[in-house]
Assembly symmetry: C2
Homo-oligomer: 319 residues x 2
Amino acid sequence: MNAQTASSLEFALIARHFTRPSQRVDVVQGIGDDCALLRVPSGMELAITIDTLVGGVHFLLDSDPYGIGWKTLAVSLSDLAAMGAEPAWATLALTLPDVNEPWLQAFSSGLFELADQYNVALVGGNTSRGPLSIALQAHGFTPPGQAIRRAGAEPGDLIYVTGTLGDAAVGLDVRLGRLDVPIPPEEAAYLCARLERPEPRVAAGLALRGIASSAIDLSDGLVADLGHILKASQVGAVINLDSIPRSTVLRGLSVPWEKIVGGGDDYELCFTVPPDRQALISPTINKTPIGVIQSEPGIRWCDAKGHAVRIEATGFRHF
Amino acid sequence: MNAQTASSLEFALIARHFTRPSQRVDVVQGIGDDCALLRVPSGMELAITIDTLVGGVHFLLDSDPYGIGWKTLAVSLSDLAAMGAEPAWATLALTLPDVNEPWLQAFSSGLFELADQYNVALVGGNTSRGPLSIALQAHGFTPPGQAIRRAGAEPGDLIYVTGTLGDAAVGLDVRLGRLDVPIPPEEAAYLCARLERPEPRVAAGLALRGIASSAIDLSDGLVADLGHILKASQVGAVINLDSIPRSTVLRGLSVPWEKIVGGGDDYELCFTVPPDRQALISPTINKTPIGVIQSEPGIRWCDAKGHAVRIEATGFRHF
């Protein structure tokens, strides 16, 4: 609306970084018209999720743009994974303070590296001038009735998480220079990679269709996200803190439980499985049982001996 | 990522304004899980478009939030209209500097008033803290092969626009207090409504399926947007300036042609129709022929007598 000052050359520069021929036959029209035109496979349901990463809120403004591009897609693929959906397409709404060619090059490289891993086509986009902010919508497919919801956990179901928790929260401490103890560079690099290049658990999500009774991805931390499952399912849980999987690097540091279960940015899956379906869980899923669903609302934390532990954590607060 | 300070109460306040039961049977799961789950009607193609409105760039920060909500959806429905797609669903990624209850109430009211007109369900969303910015993706359906593209205009096709052009550009002058001449309040209100409450031409777009050879919506002004059709179709055009439809209010003001064809924010449709399909255009479409497609690239402007007119306008520049 206000007078803008850059040229169509700059527009072309931006477009160049995001326009690639699609390998997907279900993309009838990609970037370049008023809308993208797409074909959902016959009989499949469409799963969609939109997320925004705001500079200075969801990532540090001086973060490596390759990692920002990667993470922008990863957080949405993580939502698809949590529903057991197969990724297909993405759209991108990019708000940039200026046209920074190296930044765009690195950002798009990071985004497309992950996109290529999952055969995701970028089918639409929009660029605006303003404070750095990135909204991405991911689109995937699930067979009818097979999406894994938050509601569905029942008392007696075992609670699992994939991978390890807490690395990303400590990675942020490393990035902000507020880690109390010195650590070797390779350990710092590991923790930062867990923060900046999360691996969406797409294969695990797909393998849990028809087996998990509920699932969610851990974006805001176990306390908040398991809380969403419990609320949607109208149940509670007991969690054995000592069973929560932690990386070798994390175990070498004295990290408070509050950070591990409340720090967020893990992008692991938390899911529940009924007792009679335990044997069906694919051995390919890197998972750890951490507790049990109970009928009494709320989360009760205990140690390996069953003694109650008090946890003061609420998860990432968006406001 | 940074420590945030608001409570889950505030989160609930935000969610309350955007969560409504859907009347659409194709919404399997709306807001409230990791993804929305949707059913595209059998045999239909999915048309999607994402746009961002940035506070201070695409709307004035002190704009009426009801109008911002309306316009947020309108600009995306306008893209669906330009493809001849039938609107169905929307997702919203809202970035807010703080939780302002009256603002949210008015914004969501404006958005839902327009959504209800077109039976659009808000099926997913995301709220972040940051500088005011709103990304919205609209989703619609077209029968296979019947979407109206930008490419398709042929020499000899007549060029049409719906409605009238230039009102919104002058409405911005009114809002910014930079209109040179005094005008009656009702005329000012008309121009501002054209800026802030654009009516997406959905019915016209649907009626043009199978008839128009190309179409686009006029978001950046006729010069830029017709230019997209010409480039995609590898053709040129001659436009009779005197035939460009202007509102009664606009004709009462001495508005330069550059503002009328370059100001943007019209959200009318520009479309082309081959000579042998003229009789098929529905009389319900409020349209005006303004020129003819030619094989020579570029736009040539002339007056009613066919004399060449020089126009220096480039349309809204995003950068």
